[in-house]
């Protein structure tokens, strides 16, 4: 229905284009040198007048229509239904929508509901029909206006280019709106959360058990929202990951840039970067079904008790995932060190490894630190591996063989159940999201700053 309207609008715009073009050639008396702009610009001018206003009206209308129809239908309900509390009313509206679309309803429909559904359908038909009329009228009026406005002196190119310019500028602000959207959505919900749970408890509390009670008198009904165990768990798993990734990544980068033949490098570098392209859910599967049982068995053979969702398994696999980040970032950094420094060292009789350890690494250190920071921020924000391979219970421990939970795991578990939106449980997820956003942002800003500073040094 609405996609047909969109299609009709596109066809009309194409028609508008040809009309505008023809009109321009006609008013110029067949000699386009008399025109201010090329005929195609007059065509685009007409097409824009045809499509743009109609499209804007269409978009606004289509977003507003469902809400308005609901309001009208609810207003027409019998008073005993209309005056229900908001949550019951919501349920009713959902039933109504299901009834309209012909799905199975949760309860047998009563006549008032059936009447409302009829009303809903009627309003929908009326709304859609008037949308067609309004949009089509606007489109045709737009073409008519452009038709009248086209004259040899009309600066069609400038006007069309102005519209394109505006589109470009609008596109470039999407990034800003995204950031603003992220900040607003997490901050807004977090403020609601901190009204229910004091911020000091959230930041410094050592207990995390977000179960909220169904009844007020239930045992442990309050729930505890101390996020320290979550951050400790996140740090533990990220730490294990870095212990795996940094030596392997760094040594690989050094080997590839200093020792490897060009042929070996051409094969090994992309092969290593395959690790960066594998979806994280695959790593999670690998961690949960292969690595974790393996570690458990090895632990059992050595007489150690290893939890089946040990931090070690998740951290190890996360480390594998991060290897290519560390290696390709440090590869860039190492290659940015001027060749003259290496040559100087060789000229003094140093071996390759001595040059690397005493010249290259000290010179590249800031850049390497920057790339490690980027990798850390990646590890902290990583979700799927820990959701699939790390535990759910918040233990405050530094033992890698025990199960810990992380910030991202808690966000996922808090938000993938069915619960109302303003319970502290869901709001806590947003507060955790805010913390995650702030921490990774700070890490990224520092890392980018360090790397940039360092690059400038050798340019």
């Amino acid at each position: 229905m609405q996609s047909f309207l969109l299609l009709a609008l596109i066809l009309l715009s194409i028609g508008g284009y040809t009309l505008g073009r023809k009109r321009a050639v006609a008013v110029a008396g067949g000699h386009i040198r008399n025109l201010h702009s090329l005929p195609s610009f007059y065509g685009s001018y007409a097409a824009l007048w045809c499509g743009l206003p109609a499209l804007i009206v269409f978009a606004v209308w289509a977003t507003l229509q469902p809400g308005i129809i609901i309001d009208l239908v609810v207003a027409g309900l019998p008073p005993e239904l209309r005056d229900l509390p908001p949550d019951r009313l919501n349920l009713l509206v959902n039933d109504l929508k299901n009834l309209v679309s012909g799905n199975i309803v949760s309860s047998t429909p009563d006549p008032a509901m059936l009447a409302a559904a009829d009303r809903y359908r009627n309003l929908q038909v009326i709304g859609n029909a008037s949308l067609w009329v309004v949009v089509m009228t606007l489109a045709i009026a737009g073409v008519a206006y452009a038709w009248r406005a086209i004259s040899p002196t009309l600066r069609a190119r400038n006007r069309v280019e102005r519209v394109v310019d505006l589109f470009l500028i609008a596109s470039s602000t999407v990034a800003i709106f995204t950031t603003v959207g992220i900040v607003l959505s997490v901050v807004f919900e977090s403020i609601l959360f901190f009204r229910q749970v004091p911020i000091t408890e959230f930041l410094f509390g050592l207990q995390w058990s977000p179960q909220t009670a169904l009844r007020a008198d239930q045992v442990g009904s309050s729930g505890a929202f101390g996020s320290v165990p979550l951050f400790a768990g996140t740090l533990l798993i990220s730490g294990i990951a870095m212990v795996v990734a940094v030596p392997i990544g760094l040594m690989s980068a050094l080997f590839l840039s200093e020792y490897a033949t060009p042929k070996f490098r051409a094969v090994a570098k992309p092969a290593l970067e395959i690790l960066a392209g594998i979806p994280t859910v695959v790593y999670g599967f690998f961690a949960a079904l292969t690595v974790a049982p393996l570690i458990r068995e090895i632990g059992a053979a050595m007489g150690l008790h290893v939890a089946s969702e040990s931090a070690l398994a998740a951290g190890l696999v996360m480390g594998i995932m991060i290897i290519p980040f560390v290696s390709s970032l440090s590869d860039d950094v190492i290659n940015a060190v001027p060749q003259s420094m290496r040559d100087g060292s060789y000229a003094l009789g140093a071996t390759k490894s001595e040059t690397i350890q005493r010249v290259l690494l000290p010179a590249a250190l800031p850049g390497i630190v920057g790339s490690i920071l980027l990798a850390v921020s990646r590890a902290i924000g990583e979700t799927m591996i820990v959701v699939m391979a790390a535990g759910l219970s918040a233990n405050l421990t530094a033992n890698p063989l025990e199960a810990v939970t992380t910030v991202t795991v808690q966000i996922v578990t808090l938000l993938t159940g069915d619960q109302e939106f303003d319970s502290p449980k869901t709001l806590a997820a947003f507060a955790l999201g805010l913390m995650l956003f702030v921490v990774t942002l700070i890490l990224n800003i520092i890392a980018l700053h360090v790397v940039r500073k360092y690059r400038e040094q050798y340019e």
Binding site: D165, S172, I182, L272, T290, I320, M384, V387, T408, F437
Partner: protein, 439 residues
């Protein structure tokens, strides 16, 4: 600049000449050199070994899932069961008890089975989908009614797992999902050649299911398709426009600096935070439906936008300024210069970048968990608004299930996902090789 520190070695005593000192340390230094080189080689081999290990692990677990066990059962399309009045009324045919036909066929195979428990175990050999299969056949060719046919019917997941050798027959009966008498029947069937493995078309034609043998990835694939379509349609034009604006038109001022800083930061924001944004803004504020590919596509396009913008800008900067100057010199407006000359030359690079971005979006699951694309959905989605899931999330859902047959299917789904990613990245590499111009 850091000064290179002098090479190792204590300050030279006066009574020995330099050569002896250097030679004395040489052996040790060369050994250190060899060791260091070995460490590097070990590190890179470890990295590559992980790649091989993961692929071997997943392919090893997943490839059996592409074959599925079928049992040949004699089926009598009994008119008395299917169509007692003989009117071939579609309504009667639709409600007929097809499962009874299957049961009769199984009893015909093993007439010795007696008692309720034993019969139930016997019927458990074939999947509950077998009855639906008969229904489909009868609807297709009503002439079947009254006839008798030997049909290959889908075996249940437990039989499939047993035939594939993934159930330890030595285990105690109570510890395996399949009973002793069932194993015996399966052995007899195998001996009679009535068990066969066929290509698992169900995996590609069905949506999700609670029964492993009937579960497929079509729903997830279609969900991924719609989601990625939305992502591409939104993020490519907006990303390309942003790149063009920042590279070609934007004045250097605080505002454009702010945009640039924003883009760089967005590229490093954890993906799950985008999920929170999607939940708060698209679902709670705008009231879009949960689990819809439209919302998933919106979230993923915000996520891939920075990737596309950064790649697009790199492609635009690689176009030499002389082309711009020539166009401007011929009297083109700035927009004509970009539209007619710069953009077509930068297009392969931009497309390469966006395909890589799309591949990343295809593998992304964390933000989609937030917006409800984790629901158990049987139907294959048919539009942008239908509830659906995507391939990586399907993998996540299946990986949680305990049945061995699901482990196999999870690995198979991963193989399909990886195949798509390799395809997309290969396309990007091909595009780059074919169209990239060095100026």
């Amino acid at each position: 600049m850091n000064k290179p520190t002098p090479a190792a070695g204590a300050p030279a005593p006066l009574n020995r000449d330099i050569k002896t000192i250097v030679n004395a340390g040489l052996k040790r230094r060369h050994a250190a050199e060899r060791h260091f080189r070995w460490y590097g080689l070990i590190a890179i081999s470890l990295g590559l070994a992980f790649v091989v290990l993961m692929f071997a692990n997943i392919i090893g677990k997943g490839y059996p899932a592409f074959w599925q066990t079928y049992i040949q059962v004699p089926i009598q399309f009994d008119a008395a069961v299917l169509d007692p009045d003989g009117k071939r009324d579609p309504q009667t045919l639709a409600n007929a008890d097809y499962a009874a036909l299957v049961r009769a066929g199984m009893r015909q195979l093993f007439p010795n089975a007696q008692g309720r428990l034993e019969l139930r175990a016997l019927y458990g050999l074939v999947s509950s989908d077998a009855a639906h299969e008969l229904h489909r056949r009868v609807l297709q060719t009503p002439a079947l009614i009254g006839a008798e046919q030997e049909l290959w019917l889908l075996a249940s997941a437990n039989v499939d797992t047993l035939v594939k050798g993934n159930i330890d027959r030595a285990l105690d009966e109570s510890e395996r999902p399949i009973k002793d008498n069932q194993i015996e029947w399966v052995n007899k069937l195998q001996a009679a050649g009535k068990i066969e493995k066929q290509f698992n078309a169900i995996l590609f034609s069905n949506g999700d299911s609670r029964e492993p043998e009937q579960a497929g990835i079509r729903g997830a694939l279609m969900g991924s398709f719609y989601t990625l379509l939305v992502t591409f349609l939104l993020s490519f034009p907006i990303g390309a426009a942003t790149a063009v604006y920042l590279e070609e038109f934007a004045p250097k001022n605080r505002w454009t600096d702010l945009i640039e800083v924003n883009i760089n930061n967005l590229a490093a924001v954890p993906s799950i935070v985008f999920g929170l944004l999607g939940l708060a803004v698209f679902i709670n504020f705008f009231g879009l439906p949960r689990s819809a590919p439209l919302v998933g596509g919106l979230v993923l396009s915000l996520m891939t936008l920075p990737v596309i913008i950064i790649a697009g800008r790199a492609a635009l900067t690689s176009v030499p300024p002389s082309i711009r100057e020539a166009a401007l010199g011929m009297g083109a407006s700035k927009l004509q210069m970009v539209g007619h000359h710069v953009l077509p030359l930068a297009m392969p690079g931009m497309l390469t970048g966006s395909i890589i971005g799309m591949a990343r979006a295809l593998g992304e699951s964390a933000p989609l968990l937030m917006i409800g694309m984790v629901a158990f959905i049987v139907d294959v989605p048919k539009s942008f608004m239908d509830p659906s899931t995507v391939l990586p999330v399907q993998i996540y859902l299946w990986s949680d299930l305990p049945e061995r047959a699901f482990v196999e299917r999870t690995s198979a789904a991963i193989m399909v996902l990886l195949a798509f990613m390799i395809l997309m990245n290969g396309l990007a590499i091909l595009l780059r090789k074919r169209f990239e111009r060095r100026w």
